[in-house]
């Protein structure tokens, strides 16, 4: 295969960042092949770990919504996942069910006492201390009023009281752990490689508009000329990414984490291959910092099914007094959940 041409000035991948925003990164990846770019895309979409609520203990729910309905909504709330390396996977943790090393507890406690319909927002989730680091588990709130997404609405006299356990996970298991809402991915916008065969009524050029920004970025430029000969050996080597983060990780962190996850996958393969050669199966601590899930299986997962266990926990004296919520100083007083 002819890779000589591209190796003249530089070896290895090259990145050009075209735009960067708090929740978006638009970059061009060059000097890599299609498989590499696509693997990076797939990893960033599905295998970057984040935090999300995974267990909900319902103490009280007199709202019009069913327990599991609210539990589902809670699961989808983005939680800050900065430096998530500090959090263990629950399945890798030594604890019985969950603990502060592998989970973050958020409590939601709200009652409507006025005549108006009251909305419960993500900001009303109170994060319990201690936790692995100062950011992880905070609900992501980006609106100007600082409310976050609505969880439910309450009428006079209705109340919700729930204990939510947030865990670390990946989007392959459930989409609530996804770090990105979407990743735009394009190569060869002018279709010079003819990977696409457009369906059209009259004129494919009119009916399939190109992305001008990506198309003009290609140095070859311009649409296919009729007299141009088709280079059937050409391979794509420039990829346009447009990554939109949900807010739990910064866009650059999503890319970096994606790279790391890919390296860990490869390291796991290398370790296995090297281990086999020594004929002792598991060579163990050789060079690679493989964070692969160890033998742990099954067991812990049974617990996850209990989304809506109406399990009252009198021992849990969460710091309910902490005035983080506007409802903190209401009927339930300061001293934990009224028992």
């Amino acid at each position: 295969m002819d890779y000589g041409a591209m190796d003249i000035d530089q070896v290895g991948p090259r990145v050009i960042i075209r735009e960067s925003f708090p929740n978006r990164a638009d970059f061009v990846l060059e000097h890599v092949d299609l498989a590499f770019a696509n693997s990076l895309r797939r990893t960033m979409l599905a295998e970057v770990p984040t935090m999300a609520i995974d267990l909900v203990e319902v103490d009280e729910n007199t709202s019009v919504l069913a327990d599991e309905f609210i539990a589902h909504r809670l699961g989808l709330i983005p939680l800050n996942s900065k430096q998530i390396e500090d959090v263990l996977y629950t399945r890798d943790c030594d604890c019985d069910q969950y603990c502060e090393n592998c989970s973050i507890t958020l409590t939601m406690h709200a009652k409507c006492t006025g005549d108006e319909i009251m909305k419960v927002y993500a900001r009303d989730l109170v994060v319990a201390e201690p936790r692995p680091n100062e950011w992880v588990g905070n609900p992501v709130i980006t609106d100007e009023a600082g409310l976050g997404p609505v969880i439910c609405k309450l009428r006079k006299g209705q109340a919700v009281r729930m204990k939510c356990i947030a865990k670390k996970g990946i989007a392959k298991e459930h989409a609530k752990w996804a770090p990105t809402s979407a990743i735009g991915f394009e190569y060869d916008p002018n279709n010079k490689l003819r990977h696409l065969d457009y369906w059209y009524e009259v004129d494919p050029i009119k009916e399939w508009p190109v992305d001008d920004r990506n198309a003009s970025w290609e140095s070859e430029g311009g649409p296919q000329q009729d007299d141009e000969t088709f280079d059937y050996n050409a391979v794509p080597s420039r990829f346009f990414f447009d990554l939109e983060s949900i807010g739990n990780l910064e866009p650059d962190a999503v890319v970096q984490q994606g790279i790391k996850v890919m390296q860990q996958k490869l390291a796991a393969v290398l370790q296995e291959l090297a281990g086999d050669e020594n004929r002792n199966g598991n060579a163990g601590g050789d060079g690679f910092g493989v964070q692969e899930p160890d033998g742990m299986q099954g067991g812990d997962y049974g617990v996850d099914q209990g989304y809506t266990t109406p399990y009252v926990n009198p021992g849990a004296t969460s710091q309910w007094g902490g005035g983080a919520t506007p409802y903190g100083a209401t009927p339930y007083g300061q001293s934990g959940w009224n028992q």
Binding site: G12, E19, S39, E173, Q263, L270, L273
Partner: protein
């Protein structure tokens, strides 16, 4: 109902190995590697990296069943190195490429942050289009 558990797609079962090699009995220097709990992300990546090596004659992967998360990677080399060595080399090359990419990305992102800090103030939602280049 009988759908496999979601975590079965990425957690190795008890005693399950990540990779196993079965040498081909009819062709010299050919092996089939079975990867457990992996998918196209790794399969296609390794396949294409192996093809870049001048010593690899054949490299291809397949996913035998869509509900079973494993893939088979078949490698044939010109006997200067074993299929296993070729695979190890491909993995190492990819790890180093990814490190380069990580470094490059950090560099470019920092650069971009320095340049862009003044201009991006009003466009919080990031929907605004700034002409490229």
């Amino acid at each position: 109902m009988n759908a496999p558990d979601r975590f079965d797609t990425f957690l190795l079962g008890d005693g399950e190995k990540k990779v196993t090699e079965v040498a081909d009995t009819r062709i010299p220097s050919a092996s089939t590697f079975t990867f457990n709990k992996e998918d196209h992300t790794l399969g296609n990546l390794l396949r294409s990296q192996l093809l870049k090596s001048p010593h690899v004659k054949y490299s291809g992967y397949r996913i035998p069943h869509p509900l079973v998360s494993s893939f088979e990677l078949r490698i044939q080399t010109d006997s200067t190195l074993t299929p296993r060595a070729a695979l190890q080399q491909a993995c190492r090359e990819l790890v180093s490429d990814l490190s380069t990419l990580s470094r490059e990305f950090t560099k470019e992102w920092e650069l971009r942050k320095m340049v862009g800090d003044g201009a991006k103030g009003d466009d919080k939602d990031g929907k605004g289009k700034v002409p490229g280049r």
